[in-house]
């Protein structure tokens, strides 16, 4: 199972990086979404995917999944959501002001050197 998720993480990162390298701001936001999915899955894989039952105390259960990576991912999901929301609004404002989401056009000018 870890082999499968490791490959999936690789695919998620490849797609994310490919999108981040593109010229459109919208695609970059899509890329960061995929990147955070990849990172979360990676953390889970690192902790090991074993464990018979969820990490909740119940009678007769001794083999829990590792709770610590889950707690870390939970935090990470919330933070990445906050950042994604912020970036979405930022791109909306940017588009409203500059009328473009072409990253090559959004490069400042030499007057600020």
């Amino acid at each position: 199972m870890e082999l499968l998720t490791a490959i999936l993480v690789g695919v998620l990162f490849t797609a994310a990086v490919y999108l981040i390298l593109s010229r459109s701001l919208l695609k970059i936001i899509l890329g960061t979404g995929l990147l955070s999915h990849g990172a979360h899955l990676l953390i889970l894989t690192m902790g090991g995917l074993g464990g018979e039952s969820p990490p909740v105390i119940a009678d007769g259960v001794t083999d829990f999944a590792d709770p610590l990576p889950q707690a870390l991912i939970l935090t990470a999901i919330v933070i990445s959501f906050g950042v994604t929301a912020f970036m979405l609004v930022l791109s909306y404002r940017l588009y409203a002001v500059h009328k473009t989401d072409n990253m090559n056009a959004l490069r400042g000018n030499d007057e600020h050197d």
Binding site: A15, S24, G48, I57, R107
Partner: protein
């Protein structure tokens, strides 16, 4: 009274100068300043009897005791000679400047502050025993010299000259600091005396030669040796008192001081002897050769200073040979070096002052316009003639004595048998003799073209007359020394030269009285130096007479083949060239930067993983793959490819949502119910958020991305993906220590009273994470609100509107 505090006296006096300049308008500020070097001169002069006995005066106060850094004043013969030069010529220069600079027209407050600062710095350089404080004072001389050269800061040439001297001398200073660092590591101390005491241990250090070269770089840049002399002619934009003081008598001798001070440590090395003697001699020739080409009085003197500094440098190199050879002539070389150093300070100081007087009275320093001033300015002419004849090495002036000793020493180098000197040694006297001929020519050129040659006095910018007497006092005193030293050289030798020589060659002499060298003006008819001098005079005079015929040939040298042009090109490159290089890689396009980041991430990680053989692949602890997981993986892959290939933004965002749901399904499979819940909610909200903003977001657009761009992006992306997969596998396969999660599992009920371990970790065990995650969300919410609502008006509104 501790002598170390006298170093700081000029610096403290400098604090009061601006006050005096503002408050006392009627008296020239220089009169107040004059007291400082004069009193110091008297104080140092009173040390002469002590130093004649071979005693050393030491005093110190701590600066950074925990690092062994202190201000340590160590006054032996060498330091005393320099201290006397600094304060003595300093007094004369201040006196001269009182008449040279006008109280009402010049910013004298600035001038004397810089000058006093320089005096402190210079005293610190020659008295410091601690290399760190020596370096501190060394850089302070560079800075105060920079300020003095740029004194008339409204002139372009002044600023250019100041910057040039700063760049070159600070470069050398930094190199020297590196040399000091190596030496203090090797000797285990910052003290120069302890370095010399441990010289055998220091010489065994593997970086000994590097330290030697770095310290020589410092000395050569400061003392204007080839090829670093180029700043000195440009520094002539400074007021003439500054040129006389800094750029002939004191600062440029700091490098000579450094070489002399470190000779006991480095002279065991052949590299030292070759470089110091060779570069010194070459500088002597180069400076004298190009001095004849100059048309500006101060430029002639600048090149002549370069040349004379080279002469002293080569003698210092030859004095190092006495470590290896018992021949008495190498001991005499050290003596000659110190002697000529003193002589040069006297005649060059007076000549600079003469150039200043001519400039002041005639309104120009251009030798082509000058001429015929002898009858108008007889006293000035007399002083100039004394200085020039001494510079040319003629009797009865002190330059003659040291020139004879110099020629003797250069002749003797032929017989020095170590380090292949006997093969190349014949070049040394030849170059020295040719350089002496040119020295003779430019000395005559300087004095006769200015004063004797027929010239039209009427067309000069000002009508020349004898300057005020005050202006002549200093050059007359210096010229008097030129003559007096010739007639009683051995008195001066006993007083100040022998103690300095004893400090320069401590392996030869224990106390100054051991130096038995007598200076003689007459060696008899069989002395080779006499016939060499006769040759210099005859050939020099003939060439001087025909100067007008061959001087134009200097124009043959193309201007692009000069060291100045090289310096300019280097400076230009550091401005324009570096700017071009920065522009080449700093494109301003985010993609370029991302490319650098991702490419270096994958390359560095992969190299590190494989170079350290850290990659491991172990399937033993892997859990079995379920059919649901494979199905879900296919859903995820499908969703990802939709995101990549989608033509419309709505499809792309829905595909992104699908991939999020697929991740949530994985969380379910991997027994993470809280994650699955959160992921589902967040993904839903994210898609909803996008749909809300849908109308206002840009269209999906490639913005003219080329196929080539896409291929490069694909390669980099695949590289990152592969790296991540490999790292994930490798780290999963090498688990070194067990997880701490067992603790949470064991104590979640007993310590925290909860059942859901993940939730208890979030709010109890690791509650701080959660607190700040809440803060992140709040900040994001505030940021979103501000971006939507806030619109600045007026000047701060968006520039594009």
């Amino acid at each position: 009274m501790d002598y170390v505090f006298f170093i700081f006296v000029p610096m403290i006096a400098a604090l009061f100068v601006p006050l005096l300049f503002r408050l006392v308008k009627r008296i020239h500020t220089g009169w107040f300043v004059l007291a400082v070097p004069f009193v110091l001169f008297i104080i140092y002069a009173m040390l002469i009897p002590t130093s004649m006995e071979g005693f050393v005066i030491e005093s110190s106060f701590s600066w950074i005791p925990s690092l062994g850094i202190e201000f340590y004043s160590y006054i032996d013969g060498l330091s005393l000679l320099f201290s006397l030069l600094i304060t003595g010529i300093g007094s004369l220069v201040v006196l001269y400047s009182i008449y040279y600079l006008d109280q009402s027209k010049e910013k004298l407050g600035h001038f004397y502050v810089y000058l006093l600062l320089f005096m402190s710095a210079m005293l610190g350089v020659v008295q410091s025993d601690n290399v760190i404080s020596l370096y501190l004072f060394w850089e302070l001389t560079s800075i105060s010299s920079f300020l003095l050269i740029g004194y008339w800061y409204t002139k372009d040439a002044s600023r250019f000259g100041a910057l040039k001297s700063m760049m070159i001398t600070v470069f050398g200073g930094l190199m020297m600091l590196g040399g000091f660092a190596i030496l203090s590591l090797a000797a285990g101390s910052y003290s120069i005396r302890e370095m010399i005491a441990n010289s055998s241990q220091v010489a065994d250090h593997p970086l000994f030669i590097l330290a030697l070269l770095l310290i020589l770089l410092g000395a050569f840049t400061k003392s204007a040796q080839f090829p670093f002399y180029i700043w000195l002619p440009d520094a002539m934009e400074a007021p003439t008192p500054v040129s006389a003081y800094l750029h002939s008598a004191t600062m440029v001798k700091a490098g000579l001081y450094l070489v002399a001070r470190f000779t006991p440590l480095f002279a065991t090395s052949s590299v030292w002897i070759w470089i110091v003697t060779g570069i010194g001699l070459f500088t002597l020739f180069w400076g004298s050769f190009f001095a004849v080409k100059q048309t500006d009085l101060k430029a002639i003197l600048a090149f002549s200073t370069v040349s004379q500094l080279g002469l002293i440098m080569s003698l210092l190199g030859a004095s190092g040979m006495s470590v290896h050879s018992a021949e008495p002539i190498f001991a005499i070389a050290g003596f000659a070096a110190i002697f000529h150093l003193l002589n040069h300070a006297t005649f060059k100081g007076s000549l600079f002052m003469i150039a200043g007087i001519v400039d002041h009275e005639a309104g120009t320093r251009d030798i082509r316009k000058l001429g015929g001033l002898m009858s108008i300015m007889p006293i000035t002419f007399t002083v100039a003639a004394i200085g020039s004849f001494s510079m040319a090495g003629l009797p009865p002036f002190n330059g003659f004595l040291s020139k004879e000793m110099f020629l003797d020493a250069m002749l003797a180098i032929r017989h020095f048998e170590l380090f292949q000197f006997d093969t190349w040694g014949i070049l040394f006297p030849v170059i020295a003799w040719v350089a002496s001929v040119f020295t003779f020519i430019y000395s005559f050129y300087f004095v006769f073209y200015t004063f004797v040659k027929k010239g039209d006095v009427e067309q000069l910018p000002a009508s020349p007359k004898e300057p005020p007497f005050g202006m002549l006092i200093s050059p007359i005193i210096l010229a008097a020394f030129v003559v007096v030293i010739f007639f009683i050289p051995n008195k001066f030798s006993d007083w100040i030269i022998k103690p300095a020589v004893a400090a320069l060659q401590p392996h030869l002499y224990a106390v100054p009285q051991d130096v038995t060298i007598k200076i003689q003006a007459w060696h008899g008819f069989d002395a080779p130096a006499l016939w060499l001098t006769v040759g210099v005079v005859v050939i020099g005079f003939l060439m001087y007479k025909t100067l007008d015929k061959w001087q134009p040939y200097y124009g043959i040298q193309p201007s692009y083949l000069s060291l100045n042009r090289f310096y300019d090109a280097m400076m230009n490159f550091s401005e324009v060239g570096m700017n071009k290089i920065s522009r080449a890689y700093m494109t301003g396009v985010t993609r370029t930067y991302f490319l650098y980041i991702f490419a270096s991430f994958s390359i560095i990680t992969l190299i590190a993983v494989f170079a350290k053989s850290a990659f491991a692949f172990d399937l033993s602890s892997v859990t079995p793959v379920s059919i649901f997981a494979i199905l879900n993986a296919m859903i995820l892959l499908l969703a990802i490819s939709f995101v990549l290939l989608a033509k419309s933004r709505i499809a792309a965002f829905i595909a992104l949502g699908a991939s999020g749901y697929s991740i949530a399904l994985f969380f379910v499979m991997f027994k993470a119910p809280d994650l699955a819940l959160t992921q589902l909610v967040i993904e839903t909200v994210s898609v909803a958020l996008f749909l809300l903003a849908f109308q206002r977001l840009p269209q999906m657009n490639t913005h003219g991305e080329t196929k080539q761009n896409k291929i490069v992006n694909g390669i980099i992306a695949a590289g990152v993906g592969i790296t991540i997969t490999l790292v994930a596998l490798a780290s999963h396969s090498t688990k070194l220590i067990p997880s701490i999660s067992q603790y949470y599992k064991d104590t979640v009920d007993t310590l925290a009273g909860g059942g859901n371990i993940v939730n208890v970790i979030l709010v109890d065990y690791r509650g701080f994470d959660t607190l700040f995650e809440i803060a992140v969300l709040s900040i994001a919410a505030i940021g979103v609100f501000t971006m939507i609502r806030l619109r600045l008006k007026g000047d701060h509104a968006d520039e594009n509107k």
